[in-house]
């Protein structure tokens, strides 16, 4: 499954990819942003940072049984600080379609486009 996000900054594009990650599991508007989890990761290479970010989220989703629907990210000098808001999986309300295994390095790209916007994308294994 491929995820792609656009934003005016790299951080915004990363937020959009994270929303797409939730959308592979359930409808975004069914997830209430009630509970906050803070996540940070660090990597000089922006593409590897994207994979780290998604894998950190996947880990939190798996171990806390959470789905996230709101993100706030700052990226500075290869360090990503994020807050993610969501709620516990409710099987009858969220009807989760798939469990995400991990983010891959396939079709991985983080780049600023000609119009100045940022694109962030990769393929996740479900």
């Amino acid at each position: 499954m491929g995820l792609r996000g656009y934003g005016q900054t790299m951080a915004q594009a990363f937020e959009q990819v994270a929303l797409a990650l939730t959308a592979t599991v359930t409808e975004l508007d069914r997830v209430a942003p009630q509970q906050r989890v803070d996540i940070d990761c660090e990597c000089a290479d922006p593409e590897l940072l994207l994979v780290d970010w998604l894998n950190a989220l996947i880990y939190e989703m798996a171990t806390r049984k959470l789905l996230f629907s709101r993100f706030e990210i700052t990226i500075e000098g290869g360090r990503l600080d994020a807050s993610a808001w969501g709620e516990m999986v409710n099987r009858s309300r969220h009807r989760p379609a798939v469990e995400v295994k991990g983010a891959t390095y396939t079709a991985l790209q983080v780049a600023q486009q000609e119009n100045g916007d940022w694109l962030a994308q990769c393929i996740i294994d479900v």
Partner: protein, 477 residues
């Protein structure tokens, strides 16, 4: 047919890409003309990338169900010699370490199942945890986790899940040697703590099937299969633990590849020399992941037996076999007339040892190893047997399933989960799933024709067809 890759037809069911550029060995694809024509060019690109990895021996192979994967094609096989700088690749095994299929006889005919099938499918759906957010009833502390990672299905049997006799019918006799639980991180352990004995989601399932057709009566008898028998297929893997091991080692291997002098054609092919600290650490962790998958399928077998004991007390569930199709294993294979110890990666490919191989349980050795091919729900599954020629063709490997023909996204545009369930119910096939979108993504039409895949595998000589099964009941995430 590929425009970009020069495929040479070697025989009716075998195609070759000669080495060019950085390729060290040729790429070989086993398929009929239709399957080859429908294969994405990405399969050939990925196969050529695999063929360029250090220490690869003989060829990079693609099975008839090959499709575009991450790094390796799914349906890919590659063997590496540690003494020639050969590598082990976390991407070459994949996230779902030791994902595989277990098949069980039930001792019942399908006619005995039919009158209680609704009760049976509902009881299975209640008892076997399936889908996102489901948890098992076993919660392992760190000591228990370590024992499980070391012992695999043998550990599960010691804990009371199943019978000692089950172990004979599992690859590695249910316990992968060389597992190093010390290489399995706290995060991987945490991801697994509530997931023992769970099926997972995606294409994982538990099915009750009818033996619809016997192709080879002699081998079918040896496997204990008769037409109209009811059998159980369980398809799942190493759950969160395997996913986390894959995630972590993939990253380590990406970061240090250049330090090992490895030029990666695709980051997803991240690998490390077998004879390196990282290579050995991964092998130790990956083997622990294999044990996790074997223990998981053993616990699910136990739950399935409990359900049958309640609903159909006459049932006697015994193992036909248990195969893993995402692994890297040290095996001895003849290459140019000489036996060599090689690390064989099979990513979405099933080991298929031929008759006489000492790794096969004695009771099956005369006929070859059972090769279990899970189809999509609503179509069919197959049991094959390893062939004598397989050794020289693909390091004794065959296909593993139908292989996806389209993306999940496209499938949800074409089908609705509810109507897939209703249409299958009209054909007497009962599906239970917590997610209708999940069902739509797994609709039978989203997969290749599994019969074409097994026909090509047989005609290419990789394995022999033994029996065809049709699903009657299916629970899936």
């Amino acid at each position: 047919m590929s425009q970009e890759y020069p495929l040479q037809r070697e025989s009716e069911f075998s195609w070759r890409i000669d080495p060019s550029g950085k390729m060290r060995v040729p790429g070989i694809i086993y398929a009929d003309e239709t399957l080859i024509r429908e294969m994405d060019d990405k399969v050939f690109e990925q196969l050529c990338n695999v063929a360029s990895l250090p220490g690869i021996v003989q060829a990079a192979y693609a099975m008839p169900d090959a499709h575009w994967g991450y790094g390796f094609p799914i349906g890919g096989v590659a063997a590496f010699d540690p003494d020639l700088g050969g590598v082990v690749s976390a991407g070459g095994v994949g996230f779902d370490i030791s994902c595989g299929v277990r098949a069980l006889r039930t001792g019942l005919s399908i006619e005995e199942i039919e009158p209680v099938k609704k009760q049976l499918v509902d009881a299975l759906f209640r008892q076997v945890p399936v889908g996102v957010g489901s948890t098992g009833r076993i919660h392992l502390n760190d000591k228990g986790m370590t024992a499980m990672l070391k012992g695999g299905a043998r550990w599960a049997v010691e804990q009371g899940f199943g019978e000692p006799g089950d172990l004979e019918r599992i690859e590695e006799k249910g316990c992968m040697a060389g597992a190093d639980p010390g290489e399995v991180s706290a995060r991987a352990r945490k991801r697994q703590q509530d997931e023992m004995g769970t099926l997972g989601s995606g294409n994982h399932y538990l099915e009750v099937q009818r033996v619809a057709e016997i192709y080879d009566p002699r081998i079918a008898t040896a496997f204990g299969l008769r037409e109209n028998d009811a059998v159980v297929f369980i398809h799942c893997g190493s759950r969160g633990l395997g996913h986390q091991i894959g995630t972590e080692f993939l990253k380590y291997m990406v970061l240090v590849a250049s330090r090992h002098g490895i030029e990666l054609p695709d980051r997803e092919l991240a690998c490390a020399p077998i004879n390196s600290e990282l290579g050995q650490a991964y092998l130790g962790a990956m083997r622990a992941g294999i044990n996790c998958a074997l223990a998981n399928r053993q616990i699910i077998t136990h739950l399935t037996r409990q359900v049958f004991a309640d609903v159909l007390p006459k049932a006697d569930l015994t193992l036909i076999f248990d195969v893993s199709h995402n692994t890297c294993k040290l095996e001895s294979h003849p290459v140019a007339g000489r036996q060599r110890k090689l690390y064989v990666h099979r990513k979405g490919a099933t080991r298929a040892f031929g008759p006489g191989n000492p790794e096969i349980p004695e009771t099956l050795r005369a006929v070859g190893q059972p090769v279990l091919i899970g189809g999509s729900m609503g179509t069919e599954s197959h049991i094959l047997a390893g062939s004598e020629q397989g050794a020289g063709l693909s390091f004794n490997s065959a296909c593993h399933g139908a292989g996806r023909a389209m993306s999940r996204h496209r499938a949800t545009k074409l089908w609705r989960g509810r109507s897939v369930v209703d249409e299958l119910a009209e054909r007497g096939i009962l599906i239970r799933s917590p997610s209708m979108r999940g069902v739509a993504e797994e609709a039978p039409g989203a997969y290749k024709d599994v019969r074409a895949v097994v026909d090509a595998a047989e005609k290419a000589g990789l394995a022999k067809k033994v029996a065809r099964m049709e699903p009657r009941l299916c629970i899936k995430g």
